[in-house]
Subunit: 311 residues, 2 copies
Amino acid sequence: MGQRAEVREVGLRDGLQLVKTVLSTEQKLEWCRRAAAAGMPEVEVTSFVPAKVVPQFVDADAVARGAVAMGGFVAAALVPNLRGAERAFETGVAKVNYVLSASEAHNLANVRRSTQESLDDFVRIVARRDEVAKGRSLIGAGIATAFGCTISGVVSEKRVVAIAEQLARAGADEIIVADTVGYGNPGQVERLVRAVVRAVGDVPVACHFHDTRGLGLANVVAALAAGVHRFDASLGGLGGCPFAPGATGNIDTEDCVFLLESLGYDTGIDIEALVKLRETVEGWLPGERFSGAIARAGLPKTFRAPVETAA
Amino acid sequence: MGQRAEVREVGLRDGLQLVKTVLSTEQKLEWCRRAAAAGMPEVEVTSFVPAKVVPQFVDADAVARGAVAMGGFVAAALVPNLRGAERAFETGVAKVNYVLSASEAHNLANVRRSTQESLDDFVRIVARRDEVAKGRSLIGAGIATAFGCTISGVVSEKRVVAIAEQLARAGADEIIVADTVGYGNPGQVERLVRAVVRAVGDVPVACHFHDTRGLGLANVVAALAAGVHRFDASLGGLGGCPFAPGATGNIDTEDCVFLLESLGYDTGIDIEALVKLRETVEGWLPGERFSGAIARAGLPKTFRAPVETAA
């Protein structure tokens, strides 16, 4: 058995926030159920943004409660601010993911406040969790545009590391380094993620990559080299960002699991079950762009076969 | 200026062997001319397979002679056997690429002979080159299905290394390790390619990856780590293999150049010029599948920008 690596489904949140079709609560819960049944340890099931901003998430409470009731996996929810976090804690989700942007311009476009104001809000969210959900809900802290920004270009690596340190000190249970706009390359990922891992001590680090420029899976390999074993991914590569022009989806869940298993990591995830689930979700979302190679090409005959090495 | 890395266009050969449209000689030569003008150091311009096997290459002599006459880049041609090599030498191409399969079953399907018979043929090709084109034509030796085979599954790494040694000893000027069917993963690539590099001494090693299962660019990064700086790629990811069911195209030239330049390597290639050339070639080949992320998403704002690192 190889070393453990974790792939977490974010398609229900990152994937759904830009699609034309609003899925029913039942469809969303079927997606959760089947992702968990395929072995996914954690699913980001919804987002507690105001429904007037993203109508797709009008049923956030019902989806979160439904997912929590299923059990068997970590039901996580994204929150943009303290109000969203309070709603999330009420549903009993096991994890609340808060995101801010390292790029000031992107943070302003996304949540209309400065990065520092978002950091201050994080402190309040942790305090609120300690009042109402201590020992029940973990808090993940995401750093968006960590590898560059479509609005402001280069993002200082020192700044990303400093933000990660502040989030860890403020009580984050996990730091999620996110390439929101698909600007990262493997050299940069290995360097910056290694610096973040070093800076945050015992707090686990996860990576969230988009495959906008084809480097998503190469960036996963680079993050592994930097000591990260937790990755966000979206079924069929669904996703994008409303404030990141040209941004395409997250790395593809099936392909990411295939990569990790091929490298000898144990994800506990059944790729064939994911491919079937993907077919169902594609049927629900006509006209959306789904990417991913394994769903098209199938697993290689050599998958998991013992190899006679030259050494 | 970074370390040099070489990306060679193989779309005119690997890309065209399965498409429905037969391009005119003039179109093929325009492709060569513009690839060279974009800075590509080497272009595999055609294949000397019998025209009754692949009608696309009925004009192989004219394309090869036309490309040689242009100058300014290494015009290479694929050859399947001694007869093809003799035709290629007559055109004056600067490089002849001979390919055999490490998988016995794939070699039989591809050229109807055993791998050993193909190795014996290679010896005759080198001897023939020494008679008619010594000092004028280099000989590249490709090892197809080096990372696994759609027909026979696992390919022994010991066997691949032994074949590479034999080819080097027989006089190959370059060994090309090829993942013909897109089975390779970065761990396997780094391990096997490192073993090949070690085995062949001073003979340079190149890699030829297909992106069938999404790992093509991650495999490039792994090959760099193993000491390889020469990569085959195809404009728009065009390509496949007639005897590799489900195989999609080579890694995409534009994306491969983007990756290498992002990592700080100097390819000497103008990505924007490649994207324009790709648009032209897409216009010539209606109904074909073109892949690639840079042509869709554009270069990041941060491309080649100085980075303020955390270190």
